[in-house]
């Protein structure tokens, strides 16, 4: 099944979900509406057999976030299908978690939350994975000041073990 056939099936099942299919991308990309992401993802997993999610990542543009999903199908040996979701609200960015569908998305969504600050409602255990819970800010946002920290500066934010 080609990517265009998949696109046709998605359009058939969820007519309002596909927002855009940009021509200039080298990999076939489908931009979806954020509120229908979970339904379309479940459809892709159950009906169309896209059973391997390799990556969840995010991009910080000046006026919106993009959350990017890379999908493969192992049973049909089909290559890359890219899904993108645009989130316009940057202060309370959130998109439904796909961890119930693809369990491998667990750590990847934790990473996106840690570094970009995008919330994933429906995630079983959303917390920081590379930095610690009290770290000031989300470093990979463009408005995070690119600087080094001293140990003393970050000391009050660290979680303390009980008998330190």
């Amino acid at each position: 099944m080609t990517n265009e056939a998949i696109l046709a099936k998605i359009r058939e099942a969820y007519p309002t979900a596909v927002v855009d299919v940009p021509e200039e991308m080298t990999d076939f990309t489908i931009i979806l509406a954020a509120d229908q992401l979970f339904a379309v993802a479940k459809f892709l997993h159950d009906e169309l057999g896209m059973d391997y999610l390799t990556d969840v990542t995010a991009v910080d543009y000046p006026d919106h976030f993009e959350v990017v999903y890379h999908l493969y199908s192992v049973e049909r040996n089909q290559g890359l299908l890219t899904l993108k979701v645009l989130i316009a609200d940057k202060t309370n960015a959130a998109v439904a978690s796909v961890t119930p569908i693809w369990p491998g998305a667990n750590f990847m969504e934790c990473e996106v939350y840690d570094l970009m600050g995008i919330d994933f409602p429906g995630h079983p255990d959303l917390r920081r994975i590379m930095l610690w819970d009290g770290f000031p800010g989300h470093p990979l946002r463009k408005d995070f000041e690119n600087r080094t920290f001293t140990f003393k500066e970050l000391e009050p934010t660290r979680p303390k073990p009980p008998n330190w």
Partner: protein, 174 residues
């Protein structure tokens, strides 16, 4: 016996030598300085190279890398110290028994290296006192061995009378 001359048999002269307590004490410590395995990143591989057969550190008595800080004398901080790891480095240094030494290996341990980043501690001497700095990215095994030589020179110059771990006043905490 009013004479103060020491008369010895010929046999005894060959087997007895006189020296100072300091020299023997420091010689013993220098020739059996046990490093703690604390390889954090790429410099660890050069440290392993020093422990391997070509650049043998066993000839200095340092081939036994203790896993426990309680049994080690020397902490070779080899590699990038991230902000997340920094409190654990401090904790492990605190668990080492005196006399203890720290060798900062590689530019990441000295000053953060090429990583001027929010997540990297800019030099391990922000949190623990360092005795020898070995620059390089990574330093060649010969450079690390030169670092060991400097450390040994430093150890030989220390004296029991002035050693901080034998003083009656409390030592500064880290």
């Amino acid at each position: 016996m009013s004479s103060h001359e020491v008369t010895m048999d010929e046999e005894l002269k060959k087997n007895l030598f006189l020296t100072t307590v300091d020299t023997v004490y420091n010689w013993g410590r220098k020739c059996s300085m046990w490093p703690m395995s604390f390889g954090l990143a790429c410099c660890a591989f050069e440290m392993i190279g020093v422990a391997a057969s070509r650049y043998d550190c066993s000839r200095f008595g340092m081939e036994i890398y203790r896993a426990s800080p309680r049994q080690a004398d020397l902490m070779i901080v080899s590699g990038t110290v991230t902000q997340k790891m920094a409190p654990q480095v401090k904790r492990i240094y605190a668990q080492m028994a005196e006399p203890k030494y720290v060798l900062a290996m590689g530019t990441c341990a000295i000053s953060g290296g090429i990583f001027t980043s929010y997540a990297v501690l800019q030099g391990v001497d922000e949190i623990i006192p360092v005795d020898v700095y070995v620059p390089g990215c990574p330093p060649r095994p010969e450079a690390l061995i030169q670092g060991f030589q400097r450390l040994h020179e430093m150890v030989m110059k220390q004296s029991i009378r002035t050693a901080p771990w034998y003083q009656k006043s409390p030592t500064s905490s880290i």
